[in-house]
């Protein structure tokens, strides 16, 4: 037996282990890199080639990507904080203090988690604005827009559930007010509120429920939907772009092959020259990024797209680290259920709602938000005009863009009023 283990097996051991993990050497040609991005688990989310238009920094501004990276950072720092956090009304607040005073890098980790959470809400909104103003929600990307809206709501809900966990005054009263808003929903409102809180008032049951939602349910659902979101980007033919971005700049109109997107399975590409291209893609329904068989305006994802993504990642991490070094996440007094702070304010992104709620609980908290969400959901099904996709503020989209701009401005104005101009008893104050 022992004879079988030859010396060569031992000398080759490191190399054999290495090769069993990395099946191919680091590629040094475009073909090799293309093959590797196809076979590597972590890279195969990307297309092998991307259109040049997609890489223009000012087109997407990397907003969706920043949102995604912030989510990854949130999961990472969130798991770290979980090692010390206890979802109990007796302990939660003290654990926050421990994080501050005794845990190594505790303050920094908590800061990163908190600022990334605020950042994700901000960037998911900016990303939505980008998608709208570039008309990127139009056919065939309607459903990805709908998925996006769901992700936006889930992001808000995650942040809302996380808000209660420190169990300080801010947390308790913001959630008391927020949960009461849910109670105004017609018919099922009170039931929903009871299910959410597990009790009639905010207490231990609510803390436990919010914790479970915040650390398990919502991150899982978001991860799943983000995966579908990315998958759909690929299957919808890559990022939106104007028609003129399809052709190679050097080619004249006549020599540029026009590709009819394959709509039915089993059909082949037919170029304008009448040449047929069969391939595995012939079996797949829908538009997709084609590779290699027609002249096009695309470049290899590696290195062009990967470098851009890496740059955005580094920028995101750097920005977040700087923020977390200089600004500490707030922690107010421990919960005092007999004494609401005056004024009791929700997190900033809900202050627009709180402002509306101070006129009418039903309309501000339930009616108007529901109408807004429903309108957002049907946008791509109402606006069927295919013109103006892939450009910021396209002239053909003047009406749609103006309406959306009004929606954005109204909501931001309400948030500013709620944040800066409301004082004790929600009375009007001047910030100056």
């Amino acid at each position: 037996m022992a004879r079988k283990i030859s010396l060569s097996a031992l000398t080759e051991l490191p190399g054999n282990i290495w090769n069993s993990i990395f099946r191919n050497p680091l590629p040094s040609s475009d073909l090799g890199r293309a093959q590797t991005s196809f076979t590597n688990f972590f890279l195969h989310i990307h297309p092998v080639k991307v259109n040049r238009h997609t890489l223009k920094p000012w087109y997407t501004m990397g907003l969706g990507l920043i949102t995604f990276f912030l989510f990854v950072i949130l999961v990472f720092t969130g798991v770290l904080v979980m090692f010390y956090y206890v979802p109990s009304t007796n302990q939660a607040y003290d654990r926050m203090l421990d994080l501050r005073s005794t845990v190594a890098f505790g303050t920094f980790t908590r800061n990163m988690h908190r600022w990334a959470a605020h950042g994700m809400v901000a960037f998911v909104f900016l990303h939505m604005c980008r998608v709208f103003f570039t008309g990127a929600y139009k056919r065939p990307r309607e459903f990805n827009w709908v998925l996006g809206i769901v992700l936006f709501l889930l992001t808000l809900f995650s942040s809302f559930t996380g808000y209660l966990l420190p169990w300080d005054q801010l947390a308790f009263w913001a959630i008391t007010v927020g949960a009461s808003i849910a109670g105004y929903a017609p018919v099922v409102g009170e039931q929903m509120r009871f299910l959410l809180l597990g009790d009639t008032t905010v207490g231990q049951e609510a803390l436990l429920r919010f914790y479970v939602l915040h650390v398990a349910v919502l991150p899982l659902v978001i991860t799943l939907l983000v995966a579908v979101h990315f998958w759909r980007i690929r299957k919808d033919g890559g990022l939106s772009r104007p028609p003129e971005a399809e052709s190679e700049p050097g080619l004249s109109k006549e020599t540029t092959a026009k590709v009819d997107l394959v709509e039915k399975p089993g059909e082949a590409f037919v170029t304008s020259a009448g040449k047929k291209h069969f391939g595995i893609q012939g079996l797949v329904r829908g538009p997709f990024t084609k590779v290699g068989n027609v002249p096009d305006n695309s470049v290899f994802a590696w290195p062009n797209l990967f470098m851009a993504e890496l740059f955005v990642l580094i920028l995101t991490i750097a920005g977040l680290c700087v923020l977390s070094l200089f600004f500490d996440a707030p922690l107010e007094e421990p919960v005092n259920i007999t004494h609401p702070p005056n004024p009791a304010k929700a997190p900033w992104y809900f202050l627009g709602l709180q402002e509306l709620v101070s006129y009418s609980a039903f309309w501000g908290g339930v009616g108007i938000p529901t109408i807004q969400v429903l309108l957002l959901l049907v946008v791509p099904y109402l606006d069927r005009d295919p013109r103006g996709v892939g450009r910021w503020f396209a002239g053909e989209r003047l009406l749609a863009n103006t309406l959306f701009l009004i929606f954005v401005i109204v909501n931001i104005t309400l948030i500013i009023i709620g944040t800066l101009f409301r004082g004790p008893n929600w009375e009007f104050v001047s910030p100056w």
Binding site: T176, G198, D199, I337, N342, F362, N425
Partner: protein, 163 residues
């Protein structure tokens, strides 16, 4: 290639077999999605608590003598304000009917710190976004001689208990 094959019925397959296959497909789909639906309903029942751990609805607040005539005392822990006028006692909720903050007694009645709702001495809305008056709860005298408030039973505004 394989996809094509699956769509074409093999020559030896008869109509009867196809129907059976379809029926089985239908039955198993209904079975699977039906179970999923039932389990969803069961889950909803699961997460709806049957017992709550919060404060009891009924609690005693002490002997009537502890609340002399003219008392207007907010018990924030229990979220009620005990009021005694002469021999009459009542308990008014201090949970704001707007969004659940605790209202504080003011000269004119009650005021809410959260969105500025104001109520008069009897809990009727006099300003702000609150949609309805503060609730009045049933007050009674327990056998041990202490006043008892039952937040499970709302009474009409203006219903006093005579001690």
């Amino acid at each position: 290639m394989t996809m094509k094959k699956r769509n074409e019925a093999p020559a030896e397959q008869t109509e009867g077999q196809l129907t059976r296959r379809r029926l089985l497909t239908w039955l198993s789909s209904v079975g699977i999605f039906g179970s999923a639906l039932i389990s969803l309903v069961a889950n909803a029942f699961f997460i709806k608590p049957r017992a709550t751990y919060g404060q009891p609805n009924r609690f005693s607040i002490g002997k009537p003598e502890e609340f002399p005539a003219g008392t207007r005392q907010a018990l924030d822990g229990q979220r009620v304000c005990v009021i005694r006028e002469g021999e009459r006692v009542c308990a008014i909720s201090t949970t704001c009917t707007h969004l659940g903050c605790i209202v504080a007694p003011s000269e004119t009645g009650f005021a809410c710190p959260c969105h500025g709702s104001r109520f008069d001495q009897d809990g009727n809305v006099t300003g702000g976004p609150a949609p309805k008056a503060l609730a009045w709860y049933k007050v009674s005298l327990a056998p041990n001689g202490e006043l008892e408030i039952d937040k499970g039973v709302e009474v009409k505004s203006g219903t006093y208990f005579n001690v």
